[in-house]
Subunit: 600 residues, 2 copies
């Protein structure tokens, strides 16, 4: 079964729950992005995803990318679909018009990638890094480099890589050893785009390091100058193309590709830089900063991979549960079981619980991720500096939660969806085991989930003595209490739980958000107090803290959905019930872990 994006669900969350439209159109670059245009773009994106990208998912997995003699052949259909993709402007959806882009909001771009990842995670890896490379070049490269590469990368005509990891330097990029030496007697080709450097070193885990999708590949390479200090402050960023401006081959060699658990449609390359020519991007010693300019967007993107993959797994499991009959379910005989020897497995509580619970995760993930994408847009374009600041605070705190909690849910909740199939779930032809294999990487790349948790608790929450977190919790409380200002998350319209619909018991859910926010606040205060005597404790419980924040945010997200569900539609009220019944009780456990003993 090929994935079919559910744009009605997505639009309900964008427009009814979060009311993004007026907030986006109030921003200068997006004045023209009216509701009709948004709808049209989403529908066309969904059609492209369903018609082109989804059908090549299984070949991508089973045939995969193939390496021979330094070249990589992509699986059947990849190249044609990629040509369609960039030529139809999907790669440049949220790039600036002056760079040849469509100039649409980041929130639309993130939704596009959620759909793509759901339909075909492996294929989506190729364009997935493009926007980060675009922003990196745009903000940090010299005018010569921009003239040569920016519009090609914006359009997606050339794909790009991020060459960070080395065999001994993964989470710890400060250990990177690749050397960049100024070229002593450069050729004309070498100096075409500025003072050239010779790059020496081997990078691993380079997604799309080599392939046949595009005529050129633009590598962004983290390396160290001969006189640079050790550690992260000695790292600089370089741009090294596969083909030089004069058409000659640069000394960048793909040594092999990895055999992986999943995303076989994406070649994960070992790349050797054998004195390859590169040009500096940004300043010496500022390589990590230039690379991480798009970190929030990239991590949000990975969080949405999680949401998309879980949606894919849910769709498969839901369809199966509505066809497969096994045994009698407890309780009154369902109407559709007349004359049948067994009930639909959908009628069995264990199956219903899985499906409604995963639905609660997916929908909460969308609310949080779309809101975060909106905040990214606001952080760039809102006229009010205080509002931009607030948007950045939201992104800073919520992004690690999205990246960690929703990639974990894609794998573990995806496994629950597989379980719905019984033995069939373990067999390839049903497609769901691929979801799990593909999803597993998202818990690791773009900063492991453990690092996200430390980033959230140690760096961001404890780093300012909990001030940013307290402000965020205040926003959530005010929003559900109907006291949201026009700038509160999604508060531009509607205005709080006072206008709540029939779907959720809104007074109850608002009170729940407030109660949870208070409890999290108290737990945070406790951790801060404990840090003086036991500085290590936060590192032991960072994962629990991230889960606790996740659950508060999910309670808020579902309070927003309940408010928008004015007709009491069971489509939304059933997962809302599942959230409160099966998901939120974890919160107390996490608080107890935070307050409990440390490891040893």
């Amino acid at each position: 079964m090929n994935h079919q994006p559910n744009t009605a669900d997505i639009q309900f969350i964008l427009q009814n729950v979060l009311q993004v439209q007026p907030q986006l159109q109030a921003l200068a670059p997006y004045g023209e992005a009216d509701a009709d245009l948004m709808q049209q773009v989403l529908e066309e994106a969904a059609r492209f995803v369903a018609d082109k990208v989804a059908p090549i998912r299984r070949d991508g997995d089973e045939i995969g990318a193939h390496f021979a003699n330094g070249t990589v052949t992509m699986p059947p259909g990849s190249k044609e679909v990629y040509a369609d993709f960039w030529q139809n402007g999907w790669a440049s959806l949220s790039c600036a018009p002056e760079d040849g882009g469509q100039g649409l909001p980041e929130v639309l771009n993130q939704v596009l990638y959620e759909m793509l990842s759901a339909a075909n995670h492996g294929w989506t890896m190729a364009p997935g890094l493009l926007h980060g490379a675009y922003e990196c070049i745009r903000h940090h490269a010299s005018d010569e480099l921009k003239a040569a590469y920016l519009s090609k990368v914006a359009s997606g005509e050339w794909l790009a890589t991020m060459c960070l990891t080395e065999a001994h330097a993964g989470s710890d990029l400060g250990l990177v050893r690749t050397k960049a030496t100024p070229v002593a007697n450069p050729s004309a080709a070498d100096t075409a785009l500025g003072a050239p450097y010779s790059l020496e070193g081997t990078k691993i885990f380079i997604s799309g390091g080599e392939h046949d999708l595009t005529d050129n590949i633009v590598h962004l390479v983290l390396a160290r100058l001969p006189d640079a200090p050790p550690g992260p402050k000695g790292l600089s960023l370089f741009l090294a193309p596969k083909f030089m401006p004069d058409g000659s081959r640069n000394a960048v060699v793909c040594e092999r590709i990895e055999e992986k658990m999943g995303i076989h449609g994406s070649p994960t390359c070992v790349m050797r830089f054998d004195g390859a020519t590169g040009w500096l991007v940004g300043q010496h010693g500022k390589g990590l900063g230039a690379m991480f300019v798009m970190m929030n967007a990239a991590r949000l993107h990975v969080g949405l991979q999680g949401v998309g993959l879980l949606e894919a797994a849910w769709q498969m499991a839901n369809a199966y549960a509505q066809e497969r009959r096994q045994m009698r379910a407890p309780g009154p005989r369902p109407a559709d079981s007349a004359g049948q020897a067994a009930d639909l497995i959908m009628a069995h509580p264990a199956i219903r619980r899985i499906l409604d619970t995963q639905r609660a995760w997916i929908d909460a993930g969308r609310v949080l991720a779309y809101q975060t994408a909106l905040e990214l847009d606001l952080s760039h374009h809102h006229p009010d500096a205080a509002r931009r600041e607030r948007a950045l605070r939201w992104c800073s705190l919520v992004t690690p939660v999205l990246k960690s909690a929703f990639t974990e849910q894609a794998f573990h909740g995806g496994s629950d969806c597989l379980q719905v199939f019984g033995g069939h779930g373990y067999v390839r032809e049903w497609g769901i085991e691929q979801v799990l294999r593909d999803a597993r990487i998202a818990m690791i790349y773009e900063g492991t989930n453990e690092i996200q948790a430390i980033d959230l608790l140690v760096r961001k929450v404890m780093g300012d003595q909990g001030q940013a977190l307290a402000a965020l919790l205040g926003e959530l409380r005010a929003d559900v209490a109907g006291q949201g200002t026009e700038c509160a998350p999604g508060g531009g319209e509607g205005g709080g739980m006072a206008g709540a619909g029939a779907g959720g018991s809104s007074a109850g859910t608002a009170a729940e958000v407030a109660r949870m926010a208070d409890a999290l606040q108290a737990a945070t205060t406790g951790l801060l107090a404990r840090a003086a005597a036991s500085p290590e404790h936060a590192y032991w419980v960072a994962g629990d803290y991230l889960r606790a924040v996740t659950l508060v945010l999910m309670a808020w997200g579902w309070a927003r959905i309940d408010r928008a569900n004015v007709t009491g539609d069971a489509r939304w009220s059933n997962p809302s019930h599942a959230l409160r019944t099966w998901v939120l009780p974890e919160f107390e456990m996490r608080l107890s872990l935070l307050a409990g003993a440390s490891g040893r």
Copy 2:
């Protein structure tokens, strides 16, 4: 890295924690099985596993079983290792001497299969069903059938299958349609072993349905006589060999093998019975009962696959964490970090927590599984009927817990172990992603984990109004309080927490077991009271109930380990601390879910 069984750990749990030796030797058939013999068998088993079975694991996965024209070629080495296996008597370890077996205790056989599964789950599938088939034939087949098949199956010279599932009948075997018709004019070959039946139907998910490991394959087939009633009571069991006694080929055809997520070394076959000749095993309409004679042992076996696979994942992750350096860990600089730019990842709390937590699961799983295997031996051979009854009660209640909780932990805790590797964990050559792919099936087969939970709560606990559970909890309480009778689990020696060692704070852990047992008892009473008004509620929360029981049993298991850890060895006291700090807090959450709202 090939798996190397840790027999010292296993022996510590068998002998120091559970004191199985005197209890086994007190049973008539095992009087000769002294400590030296046990030790020798375990060491030889570990050597066979490490030297023969572990090295063919990766080829089993990457090359896998190959199907062509109705035949299956097993991956390289499988056949040779299997020949070694049965010829050296490993297949018949716990078969009766009168059938040519070694006559050793079931507990040793279960430990052997734990080691085998840890080293190579796919290969182990082949002999994994053998013992069940042996017991089935032994207890239910006619003398003619036994004469022809029992010793071949006991020795493992011929492998066997269990042909239950059909495309439309998985968890619900009552829907099985395969027909068995008495043969009207049987040939001499057909009547060689009794009145022949003609079997017509297609079975799926038949592990080892076809292969080149043995000269013959003995299929045990669930089918329905023409005049049989619908549902499970109309099912009878038949024995249909691949080759008939006269050497001719029976009409049993392998149509194809499944492409699966893992256990590629095991062919999962679609088997067509095209009027194949079969003979009745047991009575008409009693097929399910005959098939399930070994259900407790088979489910325990699957639980131990979970324990073994988690041990395999843990060993890999632990070794990696002791070699890989990334970043500085919080707290004082470790001694081994002198002159190093980064600390071992073992020193990072997030990694330590994963490793100690999984260790807590594995060790608890061993205590519970080995005790259950011992109870199986006691249930067969103890002279006192009341003790046999008590042993059966233990097996009945604890087996679904082992099957469900420890297969789930193999997958999810195995995923945590993969996470220790960062990106390397996602790459095949490190071997750990295969553990996850292989382990996933164990949550499904031999009764899905959802069915285990319903079996435990609805059938076994609520089925007798909680009496058996109350008795079990009483045993656990008495055991840790030092009031265990000579018959209490493992209570033959030592005698309670009064003799506790320095490793655990034994008074505390004993009190904790009692407190948890009381709380579980109260929760059970609550569920029983609720059942009258809300009979469906138990089906919604059966999984939570199983988790709560799991945690009580784990607390008991670790109280036993603490007692045995007389030197306070950190090998045992660190995971004990992890259990109490990170694992047991889930208990309160499960109680709150049990007492909370129902689904809808």
